[in-house]
Each structure stands twice: as C-alpha cells, then as structure tokens.
Amino acid sequence: MVAARRKARPGNEPSRDDLIGYYRDMLLIRRFEEKAGQLYGMGLINGFCHLYIGQEAVVVGMMAAAGPADSVITSYRDHGHMIACGLDPKGVMAELTGRSGGLSKGKGGSMHMFSNANRFYGGHGIVAAQVPLGTGLGFAHKYKEDGGVCHCYLGDGAVNQGQVYESFNMAALWSLPVVYVIENNKYAMGTAVERAAAGPDLYHRGAAYGIKGEMVDGMDILAVRDAALRSLDYARSGKGPYILEVQTYRYRGHSMSDPAKYRTKEEVSKMREQHDPIDTFRARLEKDGILDEAKLKDIDREVKAVVVEAAEFAQACPEPDPSELWTDVLISV
C-alpha cells in the first residue's frame, strides 16, 4: 500500500474512497514514525531522527491536492513527506537503519532520501536550504512548461533565515509556481516561535514581495486540502508563489535526544487529546458513516502489516558493501 497523488481540483469534493485514503495515509505515517522511534530505542537507528508525529494532516492534505507534475521538497523532518509522495516505506525504513536496501543505499540517512520518479527532491539537513532549492524546482517547472508546482515545505524556525527572503523575492519577481508551506509546529527545536520570530503571523512574511498568504488549521486534513487546492491552483495558473502557514504540532521532541522541557506536559496532552488530526478525522468519518469499526480494524491491520514489513526489511537487509564507500561521488564521464 503506497499513498498516491489524487486528481482533485478546486470545487471537487473528496470521494468516499479519497477520505478513507487520507485516513489510511495519516495512520501509516504515524505508525511508521512510532516504529522508527522504537527502532531508534533499540539502537537500530542512530544519529539524527526527527519524527513527524502530530503533523500528518499537513503533508497528506497537501498531497490530496497535488497535480501529477508537482514536485516536493522539504527539510529534515521528512519521513512523512516521503511516504505521502509514494516512496516505499521499506526503503525509507532501511535507510533509517543504514542498510543497503535503503532508498539512498544507506548513504543518506534520515534526512537525505530522494526519488526522481516520485518528484521528491529531499530531505535537506541545512535549515532553509530547501527554500531556494524548491524555488529552483519551481523555476524548472516554468522553464519546462510542464504544468507542475513545487510544494516547498519549511518550518517556523527556517522562516528567519535570510535565504528564504532571497527566494521569495525571486519567486515573486519571476512569477514562479511555488507554494511555500510553513509548517508552524510552534517550536524551532527548543525555541518557541514567539521568542524567535518578530512581527505577527508568519503567513505575512511574503507581504513585502506581494506574495499572498493565509493561515490554515494543520490539524484538520480537509482544511489543509482546501487551502492546498486553492493555493496550488493559483500558482499553477501563472500568478506566482503563495504562502500557507499551517498551524500544527509535533508531539515528540525536536529529535530523538530532545527531552522537550521547553513546553508543559499539559500543552502536549491537550493537543493530543483534543486536536489530534487522526483521531478527529476518524471520529468524523465514523459519524458520517464512512468508516465503521470493522473497516477501521481492517485499515489498522493493513497499516500495521506495512510497517512491520518495513521494520523487518530494515533489520534483515545487510549493511552496504564496503565498496559503496567510494561510489556515487561523481558520475563518470
């Protein structure tokens, strides 16, 4: 089971199958990340590992509106984006364990996976570096006239980097098809957004360049999907870039070694209990009669099987051959 790009257009109501698909995709990302956290705990995943738990509705909502030629680029909290773009969970998990079956043959790690076939361009470890890169993907869409838009994700920490504004300037100047998705999860590592970002809401950050922006409830998959349809349609029609500030929340620490002492337990549990994007969406689908207990169990089982298979593959795969140390440095000519 792999998530797929959906052919939604503005005004199109999601079908029953679409809705079930969104739920399944969000659940898959959550279970995948929980498993990754568990494997980290067992020492099978090392180094940096930034989990997406709590933010699932953002990328699934965006991909619900993605066009076939659209490209996606993000920072280092990227496993959810990979799965939503259709990258094989087995390959993602095996990359986390640093094995030969990983999407980057074990040479990239958690922050560095790519898929030209799925137009997923990473996975970048330098805060905000993906913003000019994503703007360049938008430039290429326009140059090639392929009808695509770049979905360029950044966090509430990245918005303070200078290169973001260099990118906004060029994107607006040249009317590049880029939607900048600011995933505001409230904390840049341990620094609350109000302690780092001057001025009002982050979606205003493009105002000086004439870039339209709006705030979106990132815990509501359908709200994200609506905003995605509108903003992608705007960028695709040649009007230039658009900014979405998506209010979301990460339940886990910044990375695995972050005890998250900069926020209260009450704050975290309130988000989990009252605003969880998966729980609230499930309740809505149950209320609307789209999902019942039997169907939910089926989805649970299906998702669990995918994650278990990924985890087993990621442990069974051998480490890369020592000869791999010297390959892929340059393309030989």
Binding site: E34, Q38, G122, P132, L133, Q163, P259
Partner: protein, 451 residues
C-alpha cells in the same frame, strides 16, 4: 504472543540509564503513544512511549533501578486479549546485531589514468580574447542543448559585469539569459534546484569572492546530493566567475578559491589560463553531469590567444597540459600563474636551467600522473599559486609528490604562494603579496642547487 518492552536508547550516545518511574502499573491498559515510563539519561529525563497496544502484563525492572542497559527487557505487554499466563511463554525478542564495519584503509585517491588526453591537433584557430572564448563556448553549448541557461548579476541587459556574456541575451532571450538580484545564496540555491530538476544552469558569480555567500549551496546542495542519494539525484551545474586577485581591489575582492573548492569531493574544479583552455574547459564543464566550478581570472579576460574554432573542441577535465618541455626543473601553475611560470622559464633558460611548465587546467581531479612523470624526468619541482600557502594547492602537490615520487626527488618541493596576509591595497604591498617572476626563478634555482 506477549511483547517484551526493551530499555530504549534515548540519545545517540546512551548505553544505560535509570528507570525513574513507571506511569503504567501492571494491569493497566496501554495505547500506542501512551507514556509508560520516565527514564533518566546522563543528560535529561525522557518520557518513554508505548509502540504497541495492550495491557501491562509484568514490570520486570522496578522504578528507581539505575544502570539499566539499553535493550534489556524492562516489561512485558499483553496483546490481543492475552492473559497473564502467556507471560512465561514470552520468548526473548530477537535483537538484531549489527556487524562491526570492516576497517577502511584510507588511501590517497588513485591517480586518474582513465581520463583521455586532450586533443593534440586542435584544428583551425582564430585570434580571440579569453573573454570571447568563454562567451563562444557558452553560446555553442546553449545552441546545442536547450536546457542550458545562464543566470547571474548583470549577465543579460548589462552584457556582463566583465562583458563575458556579451551578446548572449540578444541571441537566446531573457528566458535563458537571466539577470538576478544581488542575492548569491538565493540564486545559487535556485540554480541547484533547477539542476536537480534536470536543467543545466550556468551560474555566474560577478567574482568568486561573492560565492562565499553561496558556498553552502555549492557544497552541501550541489556537490553532496549525488552521494547522499545513493547515486539517484544528480546536479549538472556550472559555477563560474573571475577568481583571485585582480588589481588594487583590496582584501575582500582578492582571494583565490582553488583550495576551498578543490577540498570537496563531489565537485570538479577547473582553472583556465589561455583562450584554448577557456573554450575547452567551459564546454567540458557545461557538458559534465557533475557540478563544476570554473575559476576564471579578470586580468586574463582581455588577453588574446589562438583559440580552436571547432564547436567540438572539448578539453577533458582532469588533464594537465605541458606548456613548455624541459628536463631541469618542473614548474606547476594554473590560471594567470602559468604566464608567470613561462616568463620565469625564459629567464631560467638564460641561466642554463630548462624548466618544464605544467598548466594544471584542472585542480580537481588533479592530474598527478603528468606531474609525477615530469618529476621523474627533472627530479625537482616548484609549485606556484596566488592563493595562500596553508593547505593550498601547492601543499597538496607536495603531499602527492611525497606519496608518488619520493624516490625521484633530488630536492625538497618548494611552494611559491601568495603572502599569508589579507591582500593589501597599496601598490607596492600588493606586488609584494603576489608571486613574481623573480620569486619563481629563485625557487627554481634553489631546488637546482644553483643558488
């Protein structure tokens, strides 16, 4: 079957920790994501969340226990409605053991022998400046491949800050010859992103000095991604512009970046001297599927050379050129210093020493084979560069000669470099800071024991 809960590693370096507190007692229902325990590491107290759903069957390690090893079983979770009797049947969870990595013998990169030689017969030539040769090379490649485009400050309407892109806007239009704002980090990153998407950008830095604003994208984005992606994501891109000291422009505008860029795997670095070099290396760089940095020189732009006319004239990256044959001493140089080396060779000849002058053309990969062959003949070598001595290109050549031609040396390697100071503005001091012909002559005489 019951699931064993293991002591987690909560940081990259944790090997053991204290089980501070249980938040779920035996018999309590556990949902995935519930916090079940608090664990103290040497740095912090961390919460430990359940992955699986079930009922806490048995706590194996009581709260307050110190020194619990990572991966030791700490509790048993009953799943799928099991009762406590299942606990005894719980088999230990197999823990995957990762084999220790094989020791790696780090050797110097093998001498690149597979690169074909540059054509010796270059066909008909015409008299052209280096500036025109660079421009023609770009124009020919833009005609050949519609994905090639040029962007940078003043490259289009102004016709290039140093007029290298003169006429390109007229021929190719504003879609492919693009004036950027003064925003090096932004446009270098944008170009690298366009490279990821399959275009072939040529990024002009007004001078390489300003590329320091953009170096994160040159190295981290363009040069490392092929490796980090296991060979999937290429970035065919050219970063070019005048490098090194021009004349009387002071410290921030007079720096050689050869050593900076050549340090990095995943990147090729070339530095032309003549018009032939300029045309052949530019065309090679644009056709190369890898990121390439071209270190040009402002003082050379107006110099005239015989330049091959053929649109197929391409110089293989990684091959040096012997500009003057000799058996007395090897002098290695690149860019403007090749002329200094040739001038020094003339003077040395008058003093009875025939120098062999090697124009490196390519800094990375470095043509160690050609240098070593020359040293096998001359038994002595002098390197010249305008850059600083510390960890410079001369330092690398000295190490390569040590590793590959130690027994052939009759004298220690001598480096002639820019002075180890920020570039001064005053005319006399600037001259003192840069390698002069006489410095090279003296160095060559020294390694020849004629002084």
């Amino acid at each position: 079957m019951p699931v064993q809960i293991l002591m987690p590693a909560l940081s990259p370096t944790m090997t053991e920790g204290k089980l501070a507190r249980w938040l779920k007692d035996e018999g309590a229902a556990v949902k995935s994501g519930d916090i079940i325990a608090e664990i103290e590491t040497d740095k912090a107290t961390m919460e430990f969340e359940a992955v699986d759903e079930g009922v806490m069957g048995k706590i194996l390690v009581p709260a307050g226990t110190e020194g619990v090893a990572v991966n030791a079983p700490i509790a048993v979770l009953l799943v799928d409605g099991e009762d406590a009797s299942a606990i005894t049947a719980a088999a230990p969870v197999p823990v995957a053991v990762i084999a220790a990595p094989a020791p790696v013998t780090v050797a110097a990169q093998p001498i690149a022998a597979s690169i074909p030689d540059a054509p010796t017969d270059v066909g008909p030539t015409k008299r052209q400046t280096v500036r025109e040769a660079l421009r023609d090379a770009m124009a020919e490649e833009m005609r050949r491949d519609p994905t090639v485009f040029l962007l940078g400050e003043e490259v289009a309407q102004y016709q290039g800050a140093y007029k290298v892109s003169q006429g390109l806007l007229d021929e190719f239009g504003s879609k492919r010859v693009i004036d950027t704002p003064i925003t090096e980090m932004g446009f270098a990153g944008l170009a690298a992103g366009a490279g990821f998407a399959g275009l072939r950008p040529i990024v002009e830095f007004m001078t390489m000095n300003f590329s320091m604003q953009a170096i994160d994208h040159v190295i981290n984005s363009a040069s490392k991604t092929l490796y980090m992606s296991g060979g999937q994501q290429s970035c065919p891109i050219v970063f070019r512009g005048p490098n090194g000291p021009a004349s009387r422009v002071g410290a921030q505008h007079s720096q050689c970046y050869a050593s900076w860029y050549a340090h990095c795997p995943g990147l090729k670095v070339v530095s032309p001297w003549s018009g032939e070099d300029a045309k052949g290396l530019m065309k090679a760089a644009i056709r190369d599927p890898n990121p390439v940095v071209i270190l040009e020189n402002e003082l050379l732009y107006g110099q005239t050379f015989d330049v091959p006319e053929s649109t197929d004239f391409v110089i293989p990256i990684g091959k040096a050129k012997i500009e003057r044959a000799g058996s007395g001493v090897t002098i290695v140089a690149f860019s403007r210093m090749v002329q200094v080396a040739l001038d020094a060779a003339k003077e040395l000849s008058a003093q009875g020493v025939e120098a062999e002058v090697i124009n490196l053309r390519s800094i990375r990969p470095l043509d160690v084979e050609t240098i070593v062959r020359s040293v096998q003949k001359t038994n002595r070598i002098v390197s010249i560069e305008e850059g600083w001595p510390f960890a410079g290109i001369g330092a690398e050549i000295a190490a390569q000669i040590m590793e590959n031609a130690f027994d052939w040396l009759d004298a220690p390697v001598v480096r002639v470099c820019g002075a180890d100071v920020p570039m001064p503005y005053a005319a006399n001091l600037e001259k003192l800071a840069l390698p002069q012909v006489d410095d090279v002559v003296q160095a060559a005489l020294r390694v020849s024991y004629k002084k």
